[in-house]
Structures are given as structure tokens and as C-alpha cells.
């Protein structure tokens, strides 16, 4: 009897221990990834911008800012790399669904949606015991096997296309779809809430997901994928006119002020130049004040959207503090690409509006200057303000120049040694996020996933860097590559080569000589081509380009989107009105005058 009692007690104790173990809180950190959409490099206060972003700036003050963080020139391609740790040409986003060149169509890696050759970090984290939540933009596929639920997210509230009205599903930027599709927890949504505003609702949903999932003590991976400040520029009523006349002075003044502050902060090194104003943009002082004020109003809306997003991030962080999870949450804030300078080619052609946006604007949107910012309206900042947002770099979204591919990155949270440090040494890439998150979660990337071979991770984990053990995850011999919409680039150490399509690249269009070489440490704005001074370095990096093409499944197309748009749209030197310019009439008058005077030929 005594032995029996002892055995019973032992078994009972073991059961209690086992139960207790099963209920023990998983101590791995939560991961909160916040992605702004089309936010420029220099917009945030912590990066030298005049925007009031106290919440994000506080994250920077508590953590680390990085100056050399790289993304793709556009959103879907960045998101594919972010979630997979693999180059977008492998992950199915060789180009955007609408822009896949004819000679790449049907080829693996150019599906136009995130293919199944890759596995997402969300899937792996979910399998590894994390709750996985997505609130916001997806842009990686529309079909049931492509939506967030199918790609690793346990809970989702997702805008499937790349942009939409921020107050409704009234239109999508993908012009063949008149209504923007959304999903919630894997189901397509019939109607959005009546009081929907993208940034607010995405925050609400993320808080809801975390709140409903936290009872079991598992950590979460939250991907808060804001659509702000992507166009159309829309913001709640109280925020509409906060900066109505703030930008009446025009872009040049704002750009110079930002550049000065960036130097003071140490975001940009002393002695470097900022990019020249693009040749097709006027000096702002050349414009009449009415044009400036209306243009500046759009940038004021863009600023309001960014500051509203900052406020909403603050609401989420306050919630995390309230439930005691803030100190155990790694927070990563990035932008997905450079600022949106949409329409630059069409502006060159005198026809503002790309096909999709023009269609949307014509059919679904109101653009009166006193109406922009409201539901159903359509406004974007355009290239002049986009270049301001990209200070000090050249160009903006859609280009492989630094203005298109360099983005703000702030990391804060447990295990991050920083306290406001600005890291100017590390060369980081959005593909690094997936391996970083996996390492933090104690997981590894598999060679196969659910019976299919998956592409290996190309990014590098930052965990050691975040702990302060190293300044960069990359060695001097490491390089990074880019290709999108015809633009090509390689960065290795301080050096970068790039090849830009017309009309931004060379006019004679020779493959070899049109590659330009820059020393980014001295010339981050890519203003001084050093190809002739250092052809050996250029050759070295061009060899890496060949490697990149091979390794990352890049198809160098004969069809270049930007060039084709440019050639189709370039205007005549003069409008073809009758008698304008009146050269013929003037010649006639001169001839008649000579005849009357008996003059000669």
C-alpha cells in the first residue's frame, strides 16, 4: 500500500510537472515588423525630415537607425524578399504582374505572384510555435493558394492589390479590378466597415489579433503592413489641412533644409553632395505661387498620412506596454521602397498618369484641389516632392538608384544594443529580415517544405549585429544585386555600379559603357561616374552582375518598360497648332518685305 501510494504520488507529480511545462510561457521574443508604404528616406524626424514622427523617433532613440538598408525599387518585390529571404526573381516577382516583359512571361520566377518555390518566414514561424498575424497590404497574389492565409498567416486582414482608396474598396490601382479585394482570416471580404480608414483599421486588427491570441503564452510575429503614405493621398478630415500652406516655399527649400539636418544628425556624412534636381523638374522658384501651393498641399497630405501612421503605431505600442509585451517585442520599422515619384515618364511626355492610375483617376476618383485627401479622391506627390523625400539621393521608387532602393530602418527591442545609435557601417538588405527572425525564434530555414524543394535564403541574419557583436552581417567581399523595370545595379562595399534605362541612363545604350561606377561613401547621390577612373573596379562589379543574373534567375529582357513608355510618350518639340510657332508666317512676311523694297533673295 505504501509503495502504491509512493508510485501514485510520483506519477501525479510528473503529470503536474508536465502540465506546468506545457503551460510555461514561451520566452522567445515577439516580432513586430512595421512596413510603411512608399515612405521616403528622409521623411522621418529621426532621418532629418521635418515630419513630426515622435513615436518612430522614440524607437530610433531607444534602438538603432541604419543608413544603408536596401530594399527593392518597388513594393511587391520588396515584400516577396522580406517574407522569403530570397531574391524576388526567384520568389515569383521577377517583375510585377502587369509589367512582365514578353520574353519573360511564363518563365519560373516571373509568375507575378509569390510562387511555391519559396517558403515564407510566416509559415516557418507558425510551424515553430509563433502566432502569425498580417494586417495591411499583401500584393503577392490574389488566388486562394496565394493569399496570406495560404502563405503562413494564422490571422489576416489584407488588402490584396498594391493600393486602393484608403477609405473604401471603391477602386484599386490595378485598373482591371474596379473593386479592391480584401481578405480576413482567409476569406474574401464582401464589404469593409463603414468607418474604414486603412491605417486605423490595420492597427485595430493587429491589436485585436494580438489580444485574442495571447492567452496561450505563445509569442507572435506581427506584420503590420501599412498602406500609408502610398497614394492616393487621403487622410481623415481632422488631418486634411494641417499642412495646407507649409510647403508653399517649394521643394528646393525643403530639400536643402533636410540635407542640412541629415548632416547634423550624422545620417549623411559631411562633405558629400546631394543629387542634382532632375532635369525635367523646374526650380520651385520658377513656378507661380498657386502651382506651388497646390503641389505643396499634396505633400502636406503625404506628411499627414505619415504622421497619422506614427500616431497609430503609438497606439499599438501603448497596447503592448499595457499587456506587458512591449519589453519582449523586437520592433523593426522599414519602408518598402523609395518615395513614389509616379508619372515621371509621363510627365516627360506631357501626359501625367500611368495607365492604371490614369484609368483609376478618370473612373473612380475626384481630383479637385479642394477635394483631394477625401475618400474617392486621387492625388500623388509627383517626382519633385518624391525627390525631396529621397534626399539626398537620386531618383525614387521604381529606380535602382539609391533614391529607389535605400530605405529607413529602425530596430528596437530586447537584445538590441543601441540607445539611439546610428549605424552607418552595416550594409543590410530586406532579405536579411527572414533569417534574422528565424534565428531569434530558434528556427532554421529548411531545404524542403511540405514535400517541395524551396529556394535557400540569400539574406544574412542580423542577430549578432543587433547584440553589438559585429557592425555588419556582411563581409567586404559580399555584394548585393538589383534588377527591376530594366534598371540594374550591384553594390559591393563602398562601390556601386548601375545601368539605367533611357531616359535616365545614357542615350547611346551600349551595354558595357552605360554601366556607371560610384563610390557611395563619398558620393551617395551617384553624381560622379568613376568608370573611367577605375575601370578595374567596374569590371569587378560587372562580374558580380553576371553572377547575380545566374544566381537569382534574372532575365535581362529586351523589353524595357520605362524605355518603351518614354519612347511612346515623348512630346514633339512644339505643339502642332496651326501657325504656332509662327515661323512660316514670319518668313513670308520677311520675304514680302524684301520684295516690296526690291530687295534680293
Amino acid at each position: 500500500m505504501g509503495k502504491l501510494l509512493v508510485r501514485f504520488c510520483m506519477v501525479f507529480s510528473m503529470l503536474i510537472l508536465l502540465f506546468g511545462w506545457a503551460q510555461a510561457k514561451d520566452t522567445r521574443p515577439n516580432i513586430l515588423l512595421i512596413v510603411a508604404d512608399d515612405l521616403g528616406y528622409s521623411d522621418l524626424g529621426s532621418y532629418g525630415g521635418e515630419f513630426k514622427t515622435p513615436v518612430i523617433d522614440q524607437l530610433a532613440a531607444d534602438g538603432v537607425r541604419y543608413t544603408d538598408f536596401y530594399v527593392s525599387p518597388a513594393c511587391a518585390t520588396t515584400r516577396a524578399m522580406l517574407l522569403t529571404g530570397t531574391d524576388h526573381h526567384v520568389a515569383g516577382l521577377g517583375s510585377f504582374e502587369n509589367f512582365i516583359p514578353p520574353d519573360a512571361q511564363g518563365k519560373p520566377g516571373y509568375e507575378g505572384w509569390m510562387n511555391h518555390q519559396v517558403v515564407t518566414v510566416a509559415s516557418l514561424l507558425r510551424d515553430g510555435g509563433y502566432h502569425t498575424y498580417l494586417a495591411g497590404k499583401w500584393h503577392l497574389g490574389y488566388l486562394p493558394d496565394q493569399i496570406p492565409r495560404a502563405r503562413g498567416f494564422e490571422r489576416d486582414f489584407a488588402l490584396l492589390p498594391g493600393a486602393a482608396d484608403h477609405f473604401s474598396d471603391g477602386w484599386s490601382n490595378e485598373w482591371q479590378r474596379a473593386k479592391a479585394p480584401y481578405t480576413e482570416d482567409g476569406q474574401f471580404i464582401e464589404e469593409l466597415p463603414r468607418d474604414f480608414y486603412s491605417t486605423k483599421n490595420y492597427t485595430d486588427k493587429m491589436i485585436q489579433f494580438i489580444d485574442e491570441g495571447r492567452k496561450d503564452g505563445q509569442p507572435f510575429f506581427g506584420f503590420l503592413s501599412y498602406t500609408a503614405p502610398h497614394g492616393p493621398l487621403q487622410v481623415p478630415k481632422d488631418w486634411l489641412r494641417r499642412y495646407k500652406n507649409t510647403y508653399d516655399m517649394g521643394w528646393d527649400t525643403v530639400r536643402h533644409a533636410r540635407f542640412r539636418r541629415m548632416k547634423e544628425l550624422g545620417i549623411v556624412a559631411e562633405g558629400v553632395e546631394q543629387a542634382q534636381r532632375l532635369w525635367f523638374l523646374p526650380r520651385s522658384t520658377q513656378l507661380m505661387p498657386a502651382v506651388l501651393t497646390l503641389s505643396g498641399r499634396k505633400f502636406g497630405l503625404y506628411r499627414s498620412m505619415t504622421e497619422y501612421m506614427d500616431m497609430e503605431i503609438g497606439r499599438l505600442l501603448a497596447y503592448l506596454k499595457k499587456i506587458g509585451e512591449y519589453d519582449n517585442t523586437l520592433i523593426v520599422f522599414i519602408s518598402d521602397n523609395g518615395a513614389e515619384g509616379n508619372d515621371e515618364v509621363q510627365i516627360l511626355a506631357g501626359r501625367p498618369g500611368t495607365q492604371g492610375y490614369l484609368h483609376a483617376a478618370r473612373n473612380f476618383a475626384e481630383s479637385h484641389f479642394n477635394r483631394i485627401g477625401h475618400r474617392g479622391t486621387f492625388a500623388e506627390v509627383g517626382p519633385a516632392w518624391a525627390q525631396t523625400s529621397s534626399t539626398p539621393f537620386r531618383l525614387f521608387k521604381a529606380h535602382v538608384t539609391e533614391g529607389g532602393i535605400r530605405a529607413p530602418l529602425i530596430v528596437s527591442g530586447p537584445g538590441v544594443k543601441g540607445d539611439g545609435t546610428i549605424n552607418t557601417k552595416a550594409i543590410l538588405h530586406v532579405m536579411d529580415l527572414a533569417p534574422t527572425f528565424l534565428e531569434l525564434a530558434g528556427l532554421t530555414h529548411p531545404k524542403t517544405y511540405k514535400g517541395r524543394t524551396v529556394a535557400p535564403i540569400q539574406g544574412k541574419s542580423w542577430v549578432s549585429m543587433l547584440k553589438g557583436k559585429e557592425v555588419s552581417p556582411r563581409e567586404p567581399e559580399d555584394w548585393l544585386g538589383w534588377e527591376l523595370f530594366g534598371g540594374r545595379a550591384i553594390r559591393k562595399g563602398d562601390w556601386k555600379i548601375s545601368w539605367l534605362p533611357q531616359p535616365f541612363g545614357q542615350q547611346h545604350r551600349q551595354e558595357a559603357t552605360d554601366w556607371k561606377l560610384y563610390n557611395l561613401a563619398k558620393d551617395p547621390a551617384e553624381q560622379h561616374n568613376l568608370s573611367d577612373q577605375d575601370p578595374k573596379k567596374r569590371k569587378e562589379l560587372m562580374a558580380h552582375w553576371e553572377e547575380y543574373v545566374e544566381q537569382s534567375n534574372v532575365i535581362v529582357s529586351q523589353w524595357n518598360m520605362l524605355e518603351i513608355m518614354s519612347r511612346k510618350g515623348l512630346p514633339d518639340p512644339y505643339p502642332s497648332h496651326d501657325n504656332f510657332p509662327p515661323t512660316y508666317a514670319a518668313e513670308e512676311l520677311i520675304r514680302k518685305a524684301f520684295e516690296k523694297q526690291g530687295g534680293g533673295q
Binding site: 489641412r241 507661380m288 505661387p289 501651393t293 497646390l294 477635394r371
Partner: protein, 336 residues
Amino acid sequence: MVLTPRSLGILVGITVWCLLISFDRTAQALDDGARAYWKTMADTNVVSFQYLKFNVDSTGSQVFDPSVGIYPNSETDLDLFVLTYGRQFSLLGQSAMITGAIYGGDINAEFDGDPFNPKSSTRFRQTANGFGDPNVGLVVNLLGAPSIDNFYDMANYEPSLTVDVATLLTIPIGQYKNDKAINIGQNRWYGRIALPVVAYFGSYAPLYRTSLEVTPSVWLYDKNDNYLGEELKNDPLYQLEAHLTHDLTRTFFASLDFTWRKGFKSEINGDDAGEKLDLKTLGFTVDYGINDNASLRFSYHSNFIDNDEMDADMLRIQFTYGWNELLENVKVLEHH
């Protein structure tokens, strides 16, 4: 109270005039009209031509003193045109406008009894035609509408609430015969001071504009020292005009209109002549913008709120043309 026979004509004239006074505003005709105090760029000129048709039937004793046993049973028809001009300008940094208006046409009135022969019970008829008293006006903004001097100001003009002061003076040079009970002119100076208030709702952009416009005002009159050989005086007339306007399309708006007039009690040679006026009218306006410069407006107003003793109906068709030299030049540039 003694009402001389001649007072009858005055009172008929009052009723007529109460409808006519509204001609006195800027580019609008009846009352001030909807959106009369909206601002545009300085140096903008507006010319308006309108045709109005009134019909006033009085069947009771409301406006006639029953003690004298006269039941007017009057019927008055008016066919009038109004030509107005206005020019927006800057005054001390605020939006301002000067206006001028002339009007004229025909009035046909008939009623029971003869003001010149009290014993007669025959139906009396009289007509008048010619020009009325022209007027000049000045509107100055007090609050909410700084002068729109250029495109920059125009681009930034998004009013929420405007308060103006509007003055008007009528010059007694119109058609007037002192031996007639019915005239278009009044043979006296008179004027108005008003405090128009406009509250704007929605975006200040075509298709989205809504406004609530309330204009309290008072009319003040000099005496007419030769009304059928006698002296006519009137108390001030208090007027409240309101419009609720809304854009139905980018080029088309509608307005619900209300006007309330009270006062204007008459004295002839120091004796009361009839009761105070108390007239409420309700109506609507629709306005179609033909192009950037021109618009066409139609209004209908009636006193059906309290029409037990009098029916007053008004129809108006108005064509307005506006231009601004700067804007026109920009159009030329745009064309090229």
C-alpha cells in the same frame, strides 16, 4: 385709423414693392438669391439679365383696413426685367463688391373700388411701365473671406464661415407719376443694410458644396412727399432671407429659399395706413453652369406658408455672365 382711398393704391404698391425690393441685390434678382455672397477673384465682373413674372392676388382684408369697408380683391401682374452689374474687388484686404442695377417693365393692377372715387364700386384698373429706381450697393466682408487677389489666394480659398456687411442705396429717378396709385419708382430715397452670414459645409469643390445662408437686413425709407399729393412715410422693413444650397452635379446646384418680411407700416399725412406687413415666402432655385463664364437660373417662390388672404407667386429666369481678364488670358495660354 383712417385710411384714405388713396391708401389703397399705396398698399397695393407695397405688396408689389415687397417683391420688387429684391431686385436690389447684385447679380441676383429676387431677394438676394442663393449664393449671392459667395466670393470670387478680385476684378471679376458679373453681368446678369433676368426676367421675372409676378402674380399677386389679395382676396381678404389683410392688407386693407376693413373699417372702411373696402375689400380689395386685387390682382396684380408684373413682367419685369432686371439688368445688374457687379465687380469684385479688394478693400483693406477683404473681399468686397460694388453693384449696380436697373430694372423696368410693366405692372398691371386691378382691385375693387376706386381710390379716386370712394363711392364707386367698380373694378379699378391701372398700369405702369418704364424703368424703376436704379440702385448701387457695396458689400464688404467682415469675417472669413480675405480678398482673393490672385491664383494663389484662389487656390487657398476654402471658406467655412463668412460674415459680410452689405449696403444698398436706391436713387429715386425711376418712373413715377404722382397722380397714379401704381408706379414702378418710389419717388424717395431708401436703402438697406444687411449682415449676410454664409456657413459652408463639405469640400469647397464642385459637386461637394453645401451652404446655409442667412441674411438679416433692415430697409430704411425717406418719405415720399408727393404720393397722390400727400406725404407717405413707412416704418423700417425687417427682412430675413435664408437659403440652403447644395451642388447636385459639378455644374448644377439647387437651393431651398425662404424669406420673411415684417414691418413697413405706412403713414399718410401722419395717419396710419393699413397694417404691418408680415409675409413669408418659400421657394426653390436651380442653377446650371453653362460653361466657365455663363449660368442659367430658374426660381419659383410663393407665400403658401400663410396664404389665407393673399397669393404671391414669382417665377424668375436669369442669365449671368462673368469674366475676369486674368482668367481669360490664362485660358488663351492654355489653348495654345
